[in-house]
Symmetry: C2
Subunit: 324 residues, 2 copies
């Protein structure tokens, strides 16, 4: 048990927090890179209550898709894990989850909820844990939600900005710089792809020469982020390993990509395991033009879509309101 | 033909230049990363002469191994290419090459000679070409010397410091930062490995999960170089793809590696395609201890070796003397 006497003095009665949606993989960084968005994201309200235990009193915006059982819902299950870790299972916690982003979209929906929950409860309890200490709970949340503890959504949602997961064993999270001009356009076509299926479609045996191109590109992208070199970022946003397998799941993918690049996108690719697609741009006008182009094209082929144009979230989750 | 009238006014009569040896691959950056050393390196003397044509008047230190025919020697052949490019085949150039480093060692021996030659002749002629414009000639030199135009030795020798070759087509060279404390120990065991054989031994089909680890590591290394984060550099210097194939060619490789890491090396691996091995360290004492340890162990198994302890060369080739 941690010595929390000092921190727990600063407990609050109520917090409402936001945690950002995220784009994992970032074209050339399959399984190791992600970045956070300023919009969309999920909101969680957390309140102290008198009777011990963690309860889930409300979920909005999920169209009934998420589990109501607090042992199975990723938000409340990870909050319970934190209470156990800090030796405060005696506390009573009441949780409301407001889904403000599509589920199963490839935007890290479960990650945003999980991160909002763990960040929120940590804030409620006077921040007994550091961001780094919260990471294992975030991973646990992904395991509950998706069946595997991938970090490429939860890490950027929790840390903000671009994040490298250099290694899983041991877990080594490297926050990267966020060049200030970067704007993302994210478009979610309303078709369904299961992450598990999207993972299965990826070839597990690859050619060394393709891998060499990929590690040249990820090294170029990281260098571009440090230098705020938008042209280098653009040249590095290429993927000949994963994209060819997954692109077939997304209507008109190659046409959209060609058009987005012609409109001035630095890069265009699949967000996480899809079906959302995204463009990174160095100005708002380009980002908006790409949003219009992609949504019109989806509409032409009879696919409804949601779209978001957002700067990169450099700060991670944030407190929306607090009552002490 | 370029407009060189202004530059050619500044021609010199004689230059002597040094170009650095290099460590390619740098453990986790197979075919895309390299760095330059302050020692060893090759020296070239270049002098204007009256009769047109490029002649090779002397090679020292090569034990008779290199071609004397100026059309076949990489130094003079690439110098001829430059004269052609700038439209000055009327000039007469006399070249002496002083090999100051072992040939076939995995330290970019041919690259250092080629780079000294092209950098030197460019200096002699009043710098008509930029470093970027010299790169294609450096690649051509590698093709003449080794049968393939790899850039991971010539690029760091020409640019200095750590260099990323993000892409070959089109060629995209990204100079990376050089953290000032980095010291390399390079040990050349006197056994023979042909680069072509060393390339053949590398598996061309690999597992995606191994490639993911590798691109996590190269992204971590690049990040560590930008942040001068020596611990991160150390954690990133891992290779489970190429090293296992090539290590079998080097006596006691895994014992040397284990001991080097125990002595405080940030990383230990094979330089280029070997047989030289190298350690990157964050202080001179560690680098020297590793030199002693590796050389003693080689001696115990009956292998003679040369060793070099050198800071990373951040500036590339340099002029040793010039007569205008």
């Amino acid at each position: 048990m941690l010595d929390l006497s000092e921190n727990l003095k600063k407990m609050n009665k109520y917090v409402k927090v936001f945690a950002p949606a995220t784009v994992a993989n970032v074209i050339c960084g399959y399984d190791v890179l992600g970045f956070a968005l300023n919009a969309p994201g999920d909101e969680v309200e957390i309140e102290l209550k008198k009777t011990p235990g963690v309860e889930l009193t409300e979920i909005t915006g999920d169209q009934g898709l998420l589990p109501r059982d607090p042992l199975k819902n990723t938000v409340t299950a990870t909050i319970s894990g934190i209470l156990e870790k800090i030796g405060r299972k005696d506390l009573g916690i009441s949780v409301k989850l407001h889904k403000k982003m599509p589920i199963g979209s490839g935007l890290g929906s479960s990650a945003a909820s999980t991160v909002a929950g763990i960040f929120g409860v940590n804030k409620l309890l006077g921040e007994p844990l550091s961001i780094k200490e919260l990471m294992p709970f975030a991973l646990k949340g992904e395991e509950i939600a998706c069946g595997h503890g991938h970090a490429d959504n939860v890490a950027p949602s929790l840390y903000g900005g671009f994040v490298l997961i250099r290694s899983y064993e041991p877990l080594d999270i490297i926050p990267l710089p966020t060049p200030e001009k970067l704007i993302a356009t994210v478009i979610h076509p309303q078709i369904e792809i299961q992450t598990r299926d999207a993972r299965k479609i990826v070839r597990q045996h690859i050619l060394l020469r393709d891998a060499i191109e990929q590690w040249g590109n990820i090294a170029g992208l990281v260098s571009g982020l440090y230098r705020s070199d938008y042209a280098l970022i653009g040249r590095s946003l290429e993927d000949r390993l994963i994209e060819p397998s997954r692109a077939i799941l997304i209507p008109e993918f190659y046409e959209l990509k060609k058009n987005a690049l012609a409109l001035g996108a630095l890069g265009f690719g699949i967000s996480g395991s899809g079906p959302s697609v995204f463009a990174l741009c160095d100005n708002l006008k380009t980002a908006q033009n790409i949003k219009t182009m992609v949504q019109s094209r989806f509409e032409q082929v009879g696919v409804n879509s949601h779209a978001f144009v957002s700067s990169v979230n450099a700060d991670g989750p944030r407190v929306l309101s607090v009552q002490s």
